[in-house]
Symmetry: C2
Subunit: 347 residues, 2 copies
């Protein structure tokens, strides 16, 4: 907007060269304290603020990272971003969040920020790009995939083991005595959806339980979808006695719909969610769910990114963090079959 002070003017006012002012600004040790004070006094007398575009251009580094998220209204992303921010602040990075609205076009447009050197790297939660595209981009730019991970040779990936988590959740229901378990998922094209579905199937197979297509329903992931699909499931000739929802948001809709039908949870139907987001405790009854270490996921993602932004030898690891089955009131309490540390019930 308006003309602001530059380093030159500060230099003139302080009676030194721009180099000296620059040194003061960057905390260089090789400037006499007398001089430093003189410069500093001018700086805060005139409230000089450096134009960081100049610095960024010169250093060809912006100390900014982009976070690409499908939407802003999923609380799971909010928690992950907290982790990203925490690690980012430690290293002095700005974290910029931009929603893509799940539109490939928009995502590519936003991705141009990294191509155009406006940011030093990017963390993407759920890309609409293919693994090949991501991999190609990863060879030139610093990319980390978080949560929703596509096979790509040149990106860092941070997530939980979705397949295993879903397997364990299903086993838990089976061990509770359920023999007919419905599944409600979000977008079926998501990799995480497929992984969780695989885990579900593996559990059924292991216990020699039949897999039935009509018990597997997908929507877009809103709670309204959960409600709609739950109603459909209960209208089946042989309705399931338990429903595994692939997100807590779906599970809330599911729980509400079931209760509106006059069935009680968990007495007449068990429901299990996924993510352990805020919605899990907003549901009545509170949801048994698979906890994702959201903060740690974000922290770790940013950590990987920082490594690759600051080192020449890149690392393309596949980090998997531990999840945890959390037992609450939407399933009948009982034993938990699990080969990993299992969360305790709450409330």
């Amino acid at each position: 907007m308006q003309k602001t002070m530059t380093i030159q003017e500060v230099a003139k006012l302080a009676g030194v060269s721009v180099a000296t002012v620059s040194r003061v600004m960057n905390g260089s040790p090789l400037v006499k304290s007398k001089t430093r004070e003189k410069v500093l006094s001018v700086i805060d007398k005139f409230e000089y603020e450096p134009n960081l575009l100049g610095r960024d251009l010169r250093r060809s580094e912006t100390m900014k990272v982009l976070v690409l998220t499908p939407n802003l209204d999923r609380s799971i992303f909010a928690d992950i971003v907290r982790g990203i921010e925490a690690r980012g602040q430690e290293a002095g990075y700005y974290v910029l969040v931009c929603p893509t609205s799940n539109a490939m076009e928009r995502e590519q447009e936003l991705f141009r920020m990294v191509k155009n050197r406006l940011v030093d790297g990017v963390i993407v939660f759920s890309s609409s790009l293919s693994g090949e595209e991501l991999s190609a981009l990863g060879q030139r730019y610093n990319i980390v995939q978080c949560c929703e991970v596509k096979e790509a040779s040149h990106t860092c990936n941070v997530s939980i083991d979705d397949e295993k988590a879903a397997y364990e959740a299903t086993c838990y229901l089976i061990n509770e005595g359920h023999r007919s378990i419905g599944l409600i998922g979000g977008l079926p094209e998501l990799h995480s959806t497929q992984l969780r579905l695989s885990g579900y199937r593996r559990a059924l197979e292991q216990y020699q339980l039949p897999y039935a297509d009509e018990r597997i329903l997908f929507g877009e992931g809103h709670h309204e979808d959960g409600a709609r699909l739950a109603q459909a499931l209960l209208k089946l000739p042989e309705p399931p006695t338990a429903i595994f929802c692939l997100s807590d948001l779906l599970a809330v809709g599911c729980v509400n719909a079931v209760r509106q039908l006059g069935r009680s949870i968990p007495e007449e139907l068990s429901v299990i969610g996924f993510d352990n987001t805020r919605e899990a405790t907003m549901a009545l009854p509170a949801l048994t769910t698979v906890h994702q270490p959201k903060y740690d996921l974000g922290y770790s993602a940013m950590d990987q990114l920082i490594h690759n932004m600051t080192n020449t030898e890149k690392r393309y690891e596949n980090v998997m963090l531990a999840h945890e089955l959390l037992e609450r009131e939407s399933t009948r309490g009982g034993l938990v079959k699990a080969d990993h540390p299992t969360g305790s019930a709450q409330g």
Copy 2:
């Protein structure tokens, strides 16, 4: 990260000057189509991407705006940002969302992005700065306050009329026959909280109903607070027959707590929310609530900002958009007393 192609190299490869390449990049009409094609072919053969830091520095304009939000997990902000984005894209602006965690320190740090010329303007949802501070900043930088507005002479402000909306919601309950109405709010220091409280009081006064301190409770705004405070309200010697929650999130907690106590809504207690966020329909029963035109709020905020970023004569208006009382199942259906267009029930 790695060395990329510059405009000079493109010029050399195309056998023209950098000026010509620049003209092509910016769609200048005064370049022969033959030349243009030659340049363009080099550009997409080598996938040249301009370093926008150079351009931004030169133009001293970044085409980016910052959105400061307390958190990322309030769906109301997600909807507002959609409006901001829509208007932003029309004018070619990038919209960068940054959470402040409600920390003044962090907000100031993020605000330095505008001081440091990294963005052209800022929209803030709920500032931790005082009106004076905002006003002072507004004289040098482009600021618009959205939703949560503090008195400031040099900022644009966009919101609904919180006082009037709360007044109408309270009148609605009174007209439904309620004489004892509790109120559950979020942070009491928020201006919007105080405005809504005023509207509530004005309605009581107008109907000559007593105002009782013990029926007014505040928390931090989480749904857990809603639950806790609702329980407290129902333990009162003379419990209210209706509760006005200052956000849908609080209302969800309230509704759940009430139902866990075995009371039915709306038969034994009416509950009304505020905002008409996703949570309003996640509650069971769905919430009667005050609808905020979230998308329009964002769109208008960005519109104001763009005006001030592109014109030398600044405008500091106080825009108030129309709200709407939405009747759903958490209050007993009936007449709606309202001197404005009232929403119809849904579902």
